[in-house]
């Protein structure tokens, strides 16, 4: 008798446990996006319940320093908005947004037409900041900065230039003490917008690179070691004497990794600075396409840094969760106005005014009512 009761009790407890679990995960959380297009509105908004408004996003590591600063600052004045951003790489941001496992994505490599087509609904690219990708290196015994030309970088990444004292490098850097060390090439092992910017530039410069490697967030690298995220590549370069890699400027600055000057289209060697990156965007600002997808690598202008890029946050035009949508839109408006004040300290350049104006219009088109 006792055993039967006890077994019965066990079963009841078990059922209760399962029920609690279901309630815990159902209660206060956004219900899953309905099948089909996110335009089917209604039911989603009401049931957000007790959730502290946590909005999940994922994507590029390129802007992660400025985004994490923004989310943290914004939360101070808006404590009910918690934005959990995970830097898993631009490719990841695109993929998870398309699978709707996150509310927004972030990428430095704009989505292709094919990718936009396969998404369950129309997606907006919303530029946030301008950044630069710099060639970082770790050459023991070197004093002073190195200069690189586009073709040289392409050849290094194609594996054609193998040693630091190769003629191609010494030609650009007369007087620099370059050792006979092997060049250890570092690149991204994950799907990356930073990669996109880098290979976009190199493909414009070198037809061989374009042919052998191509332009995407994940490419078939001829040589090199893969690091995960901007952090991973910076880590590899920092710890491997003889290494060369490409990272967003702030990662080089924050970690005291030397980075080189790159020769731009006009022939000037420039390091990535606020001015040179802003100059790179100047030309594009006038002719910004409506969907904000534009490449500004290898820009014209003698002050333009050649490996600069916009970075975008991706939002569905018509998200199911209107409440989160409203919060995100409010955040974006803050980001492109007040948020731009934080960019300088972190090595990013603020958006040109004309772009901000266009973006405010676009934000108005997101259906959150």
């Amino acid at each position: 008798m006792n055993a039967i009761i006890r077994m019965g009790q066990v079963r009841v407890v078990g059922a209760l446990a399962v029920a609690t679990l279901l309630c815990a995960c159902g209660g206060g959380q956004t219900p899953p996006v309905a099948q089909g297009s996110p335009e089917s509105s209604g039911s989603g908004a009401a049931a957000t319940g007790g959730n502290a408004g946590q909005i999940n996003g994922a994507g590029a590591t390129f802007p992660n320093p400025i985004y994490s600063k923004w989310f943290s600052e914004y939360a101070k004045s808006h404590p009910d908005v918690r934005i959990n951003y995970q830097p898993i790489g631009s490719g990841g941001g695109i993929r998870q947004l398309t699978a709707q496992t996150v509310f927004f994505g972030a990428t430095d490599g704009p989505m292709t037409d094919d990718q936009l087509r396969t998404a369950p609904g129309p997606i907006f690219h919303l530029p946030t900041v301008l950044g630069a990708v710099v060639p970082v290196y770790n050459v023991p015994g070197l004093a002073g900065d190195l200069k690189f030309s586009g073709p040289l970088l392409a050849d290094i990444y194609l594996g054609k230039v193998k040693k630091w004292n190769d003629a191609a490098i010494t030609r650009e850097n007369p007087g620099a003490k370059l050792p006979a060390t092997d060049i250890a090439v570092a690149h991204r092992s994950d799907g990356s917008g930073t990669t996109y910017i880098w290979v976009d530039y190199l493909s414009k410069i070198s037809p061989e690179f374009k042919d052998k490697v191509g332009v995407a967030t994940s490419v078939n690298w001829p040589v090199g070691v893969g690091g995960k995220g901007n952090e991973g590549v910076a880590g590899v370069v920092k710890q491997t004497p003889g290494a060369i890699g490409y990272v967003e400027l702030i990662y080089a600055l924050q970690n005291n990794i030397p980075y080189g000057a790159v020769k731009n289209k006009a022939g000037t060697y420039l390091k990535a600075t606020l001015e040179s990156v802003t100059a790179a965007a100047a030309a594009s600002a006038a002719s910004m396409p409506a969907d904000f997808r534009v490449s500004i690598t290898d820009a014209d202008g003698k002050d333009a840094y050649p490996i600069a890029s916009y970075t975008w946050i991706l939002l569905y035009q018509s998200p199911t969760d209107k409440d989160k949508g409203r919060k995100m839109v409010a955040f974006m408006r803050w980001a492109v106005t007040d948020g731009e004040a934080y960019t300088k300290d972190l090595g990013y350049a603020p958006l040109p005014d004309s772009v901000v104006k266009l973006e405010q219009d676009a934000l108005g088109k997101i259906q959150v009512q």
Partner: protein, 269 residues
């Protein structure tokens, strides 16, 4: 020859000593009150802690245990009680296969059944992934321990008129309990150290969160993120996290031994 064998013991233990030494040397200084109570700071700022990750790991292994223990024990009971049926060897084989599946594959599986259909990364999905990994360990432990229970106990219970289920629940399981508890603790220790399956199920969360339907941080994923970064401060925190993790695993193992000894004493007494 003896020397060679002794040498191999030394060779094996040297990395262990090395690892423990490094973890403690780097990690202990980085362990402070802030580490246990604060959240991660924005990228590039020093300080902050792993409070959310530590709690996250606790929640995840709790969920995993909740899923795996009932299933594992019941399955172990079936295999032992009905081992003459055709199902039993099939189940045993299945548990063996499950034991050998690489954790990354379990992560892919959990992504497909617990993340995609619900359109969200969640602690629950992470718990499912870890739970699936725990099941075979518990099944095997239960099976082995139930087999060790003397047949006299079982026959006695049945002779007194108990049904099979009652005999198992009231007599045999309690007799095997110390070992099963050990098995559960060992499985928990194993699963607390897993990273790969959490990468695409629990994802990660920089905020303190206990909601089961939201992404959740975990000690292992946080250590991984910090380790591959270039920030010195993050490296220090990664070592600190590793110290906490090893301490937890050690604690579980020692707890398992202590529990076994105490329950055995209880039974004998």
């Amino acid at each position: 020859m003896t020397f060679l064998c002794a040498l191999s013991v030394v060779i094996a233990l040297v990395p262990l000593a090395f690892i423990l030494f490094f973890v403690l040397r780097q990690g202990l200084p980085a362990l402070n009150w802030a580490f246990f109570t604060e959240m991660p700071k924005p990228v590039g700022e020093t300080g902050g802690g792993m409070a959310n990750a530590i709690v996250g790991t606790g929640i995840l292994i709790g969920l995993a245990a909740l899923i795996a223990v009932p299933i594992g024990i019941t399955c172990g009971v079936y295999i032992t009680e009905f081992n003459t049926t055709r199902l039993a060897p099939a189940v045993r084989f299945a548990a063996d296969i499950l034991n050998g599946v690489p954790s990354i594959v379990i992560g892919v599986f959990a992504y497909a059944i617990a993340v995609l259909p619900f359109r969200r990364f969640s602690a629950l999905a992470g718990g499912v992934a870890l739970g699936v990994m725990m099941i075979p360990i518990i099944v095997r432990t239960t099976e082995e321990l139930l087999a060790l229970v003397p047949s006299s106990l079982r026959e006695g219970a049945l002779a007194l008129g108990a049904t099979r289920g009652r005999a198992v629940a009231t007599v045999i399981l309690p007799a095997a309990l110390p070992g099963i508890v050990t098995g559960v603790l060992v499985a928990l220790a194993r699963v607390a150290g897993e990273t790969a399956p959490l990468l695409f199920t629990a994802f990660n969360n920089r905020f303190f969160s206990t909601a089961l339907g939201q992404p959740i941080g975990s000690l292992t994923v946080q250590i991984f993120t910090y380790a591959i970064s270039p920030y010195e401060d993050w490296h220090r925190q990664a070592w600190a996290g590793a110290t906490v993790l090893i301490a937890a695993v050690l604690a579980f193992s020692l707890l398992a031994r202590a529990v076994t000894r105490r329950l055995e004493r209880m039974h004998r007494g």
